[in-house]
Symmetry: C2
Subunit: 120 residues, 2 copies
Amino acid sequence: MAPKNTPTSRVELLQGTLDLIILQALRWGPCHGYGMVQLIRAQTRNVLHVETGSLYPALQRLVRQGAIATEWGISDNNRRVRMYRLTTKGRARLTAERSRWEQLTEAIASLMLPPAAEEP
Amino acid sequence: MAPKNTPTSRVELLQGTLDLIILQALRWGPCHGYGMVQLIRAQTRNVLHVETGSLYPALQRLVRQGAIATEWGISDNNRRVRMYRLTTKGRARLTAERSRWEQLTEAIASLMLPPAAEEP
DNA sequence: TATCAGTATGTAGAGTGTCTACCTGTCGGT
DNA sequence: ACCGACAGGTAGACACTCTACATACTGATA
């Protein structure tokens, strides 16, 4: 996927997971872009590093799709920030993405297991 | 990701998972392309449908990378098939892909949880 | 014997999402 | 006066999967 290898223990995102991650991050309340990067980093103990070059386009995409809404605001340290929040549509989207993710992980988990005995 | 929606309960693959799936499928022994499709389908109870248009290029990719080896053979029903098998390199690759996958799922799982209490 | 479904391998091109690499600007501390 | 952290953003490359199509062989069935 990404051309480069993993120098430390870095995990590259899989295509399609970023939307889920963003929606998930916004579940705790409105947040601005840069804040999400840190939130996700902290929440995953430094495993997931969302690149801003991926994040901002993804946010715009989600806004276009109506999953999140945005407005200018002021951060704690008195900076002009673009705040994002989940819409009703976004909450539904999150639910859908989560179940999709669960299905996929379960399916892959079942491939990890020894072959299933065929059932008649 | 894919332009179309999900008619039934179909789960689209995430980009980057196919290699893991193929390597995993070959863990049970050599197999040919079409056979893998059915194996994966059966093993995941019809959740994962690997498209042949994705599979064959992926197999070629893995051969190029030395993760799998291939040779012509004969299937059970007397058909000319291209058999694939894991190489030593491929087995190592599988291990790597699995740990990568585990890291990612764990990281995303931790995002699903309530926010972590910050630790000093 | 014609035809069709299933088996089997493959290619071309589109679409999409993430990445790297860059750019701009503000604020607080030194 | 400068620097690092904070904050938002764009352009283009790259990689992967998808749809759609093409080929060929086999066995069953009409």
